[in-house]
């Protein structure tokens, strides 16, 4: 496991170093050996989640009220990267619970005791949540939002279908984006509430430790206590979650790159062809160098993203912008490195006896997660156009 403090010359204090060491140990001793089983069984075993929870991983970014440790983003993101080195599915689970769910709850619903209690159970690993915003595939915006809040017979009800909800089959609660009049808002809905139906669990190419399913909400009764944030701030929270998701993807990409690079370097040293270790061949060396170069890039981007997060203050839009730019690059690199690692293994790379085919499958998720690289590209471009032309900013 990479010591990112040393690798990037980060200025870490003893606590941060300790956390990163602990995570590295977990990742290499617990996650890496379990990664194939997680992939095959399409689930993270209960004992693995329990250990993660005991180690406080679900509460890394949560405030004390939630039972968390409120870690700085730099240490957090490199922890995620380190987890992804062992198992990308586990890192994705941790990302969703500790960052994408608990951070918006902390920011927008910190004073709500009901939420705090549930958040504590997420930190302790007893509960799991899921984000239900996406309706069509690859959407980061709420432009095609159809799920909505309606008042029927004096009761406020939520109806609509969310597709491709990450972690839906295992979730206790959903954080749901819905139209509310002309705006949108978020609501916390219990999975066992009347009118909530979880669709068929889909079999996926990779990241199989986290299941995906559609969730249908039919006239689900909504009380004011379900609300997260204020009326109509749905977009603000969505952007906040998006921003955190982009950075998290950079972390996952960084860890996956490290895993693929290490597997390829190890294999290239051991495997012999034409009477030499294949690491002697320039075509293999090019791939290894590309992996290392990609790792330097992804890790550096991650450091920048985290530095911007930790800088705090306004600038939300700037952080989102940088996160999108970083995410495109880091995920593209991860996909390339995973492909190269598989190729380095030759025929063995195609066998499920080796981990590289899993890296290859897992990495492809990064391109389409949380908005998808292509839609993110279109959006990012808009934000760098000179402001003189407002027409083209509006379009798309």
């Amino acid at each position: 496991m990479t010591d990112y403090g040393e690798y990037l010359g980060l200025d870490l204090d003893e606590d941060q170093k300790m956390i990163l060491e602990m995570v590295a140990q977990l990742s290499s001793e617990l996650l890496a050996p379990a990664a194939d089983v997680i992939d095959r069984d399409e689930a993270i075993p209960a004992n693995v989640r329990a250990t993660l929870a005991e180690s406080g991983l679900f509460g890394l970014r949560a405030p004390e009220t939630f039972g968390g440790v409120d870690l700085d983003d730099s240490c957090y993101q490199f922890s995620l990267a380190t987890l992804a080195h062992g198992s990308a599915s586990v890192a994705l689970d941790v990302l969703v619970q500790s960052s994408l769910l608990l951070e918006p709850l902390a920011k927008f619903a910190l004073d709500d005791e009901g939420i705090s209690a549930w958040a504590e159970s997420v930190v302790s690993g007893e509960a799991r949540g899921a984000l239900a915003w996406q309706e069509s595939s690859n959407s980061l915006s709420n432009s095609d939002l159809k799920t909505e809040l309606r008042t029927i017979d004096g009761e406020i009800q939520l109806s609509g279908v969310k597709n491709w909800v990450l972690g839906a089959p295992e979730a206790d609660r959903f954080l749901v984006l819905a139209k509310e009049g002309d705006y949108s808002s978020w609501f916390m809905v219990a999975a066992d509430a009347a009118g909530v139906e979880i669709g068929k669990k889909r079999t996926r190419l990779g990241m199989r430790g986290i299941s995906v399913a559609a969730v249908e909400f039919t006239n689900v009764a909504i009380a004011e206590s379900n609300r997260i944030g204020t009326v109509g701030n749905g977009k603000e929270i969505l952007e906040f979650i998006s921003c955190r998701a982009q950075v998290g993807l950079v972390a996952l990409a960084t860890g996956l790159i490290a895993a693929a690079r290490d597997a390829a370097a190890q294999y290239a040293t051991e495997r012999r062809q034409f009477k030499r270790p294949i690491a002697d061949f320039e075509a293999i060396r090019e791939k290894l160098a590309g992996a290392e170069s990609a790792h330097a890039s992804a890790a550096s981007l991650l450091a920048s993203c985290a530095r911007l997060s930790d800088g705090g203050g306004g600038h939300d839009r700037k952080r989102l912008h940088f996160g999108m730019a970083a995410r495109i690059q880091a995920t593209d690199l991860a996909m390339k490195v995973a492909d190269d690692a598989l190729q380095t293994f030759g025929g063995y790379g195609y066998s499920q006896e080796y981990p590289v085919e899993r890296f290859y499958r897992d990495a492809r998720y990064l391109a389409l997660a949380f908005g998808g690289n292509d839609p993110i590209r279109l959006r990012l471009a808009r934000s760098i156009l000179p402001s003189s032309d407002s027409a083209s900013r509006k379009s798309d």
Partner: protein, 381 residues
């Protein structure tokens, strides 16, 4: 110069397309999920003559030739790559050397059977220690009167556990001062001969409708008439067959890429990104244009190589170029289509993820992408 298929092949293409659409495609997803070898389809392919492309009609084959094989098997590959590889190996690597290098006894005993598809064949070249480096073989065939006794382990054998016939390579000159390239011979063996056993089916990223196993040969006794070509000249047979095999894998990649493109086109209205149908997105449309272009370029390269092979002209460079471009661009295409289709492409919602998994092997077998570049560069420098 003429880039069009003649009427006969156009008719064959139409026939193959119908077969692929009506019989091969429907069960492809299920075969992938269940890792199920398509026994019935292989029999149907035999009836259509797709297992004897390289065997003349009068000897029990369909005489489609290499070009004809490209044309019909592309359709099969587009529907199910696992079914394709079974047929491709059988044609290019088994029936072809049996026809080309087999003596009268071999022809009598096997040619009709493999050419008609009555018997399925596999190709036993690769060993644990010899992948790209075929000369690093260790399986031996020791002479014993009119017989040879074969011992050794072969791996990554496509259809090794369902085939009835195998073309096996072994060292016949045990003098270790002789280079393996001049010490290897090829034999045809029957798989019910004593001493042939299999390992478990290899769990694979894709191509799960085909089986891949290790084959263990222990004191397998073959008559010297079962030898293909001359003694100790088997390496050149392996090299010759590789060229044909490479064209076959190029065609497989082309078929898979075409299926991916067709899927993206088919879903261009219903599949959306940020609320916009794929077909209305310039970026998505352009990516499809790129995929279509590389498919057509790859097909021209593959057909050119096949035609040269049919005419017995040198096609080493051409076959490797076809495989290089076809397999790299097909993998790009499949990955792109998964991305275009988003979460749906990433899941069992459609064939995209299967196509992507199936396609990946094309850059690995019959010589990796690196081996193709090695071969081409040797033709340049």
């Amino acid at each position: 110069m003429d880039f069009a298929l003649d009427e006969k092949l156009l008719a064959r293409q139409a026939e193959a397309r119908a077969f692929a659409r009506d019989e091969v495609a429907p069960g492809a997803a299920e075969r992938d999920r269940k890792k199920e070898y398509p026994e019935k389809l292989v029999r149907r392919a035999a009836e259509l003559g797709y297992m004897g492309c390289l065997v003349p009609e009068k000897m029990g084959g369909s005489g489609l030739g290499n070009l004809g094989q490209c044309v019909v098997l592309e359709e099969v590959a587009a529907a199910c790559a696992g079914t394709h590889v079974t047929l491709s190996v059988h044609n290019s690597l088994v029936s072809a050397p049996i026809y080309k290098y087999g003596g009268p006894e071999v022809h009598e005993r096997w040619l009709g059977a493999v050419g008609s598809g009555e018997k399925l064949g596999c190709y036993l070249l690769t060993e644990p220690g010899s992948g790209s480096d075929a000369a690093a073989m260790s399986t031996t065939a020791t002479e014993d009167g009119d017989y040879f006794v074969i011992n050794g382990d072969k791996m990554w054998i496509t259809t090794g556990d369902v085939a009835q016939v195998g073309v096996v390579f072994a060292i016949t000159n045990l003098d270790r001062s002789v280079r393996n390239t001049k010490a290897i011979s090829a034999f045809v063996i029957d798989f019910d001969d004593p001493g042939v056993t299999f390992g478990k089916r290899e769990p694979k990223l894709g191509l799960r409708a085909s089986t891949t196993v290790a084959v263990f040969l222990k004191d397998v006794r073959v008559h010297k008439s079962q030898m293909l070509g001359e003694r100790d000249r088997g390496f050149s047979i392996a090299m010759d067959m590789l060229n044909g095999g490479r064209i076959g894998i190029a065609v497989q990649a082309i078929g898979i890429a075409r299926a991916a493109l067709e899927l993206a086109l088919e879903r261009s209205e219903i599949s959306k990104r940020n609320g916009k149908p794929l077909g209305k997105s310039q970026l998505a449309r352009f990516r499809m244009a790129e995929i279509a272009t590389s498919i057509e370029a790859s097909r021209l390269l593959a057909w050119r190589a096949a035609l040269l092979r049919d005419r017995k002209e040198n096609h080493i460079r051409e076959a490797s170029m076809a495989k290089l471009m076809a397999t790299q661009s097909a993998n790009d295409a499949c990955r792109r289509v998964v991305e275009l289709l988003g979460e749906a492409g990433y899941s069992d919602d459609c064939a995209a993820e299967r196509l992507m998994r199936d396609c990946r092997v094309t850059e690995l077998y019959e010589g990796t992408t690196e081996v193709q570049k090695l071969v081409i560069s040797r033709q340049l420098l």
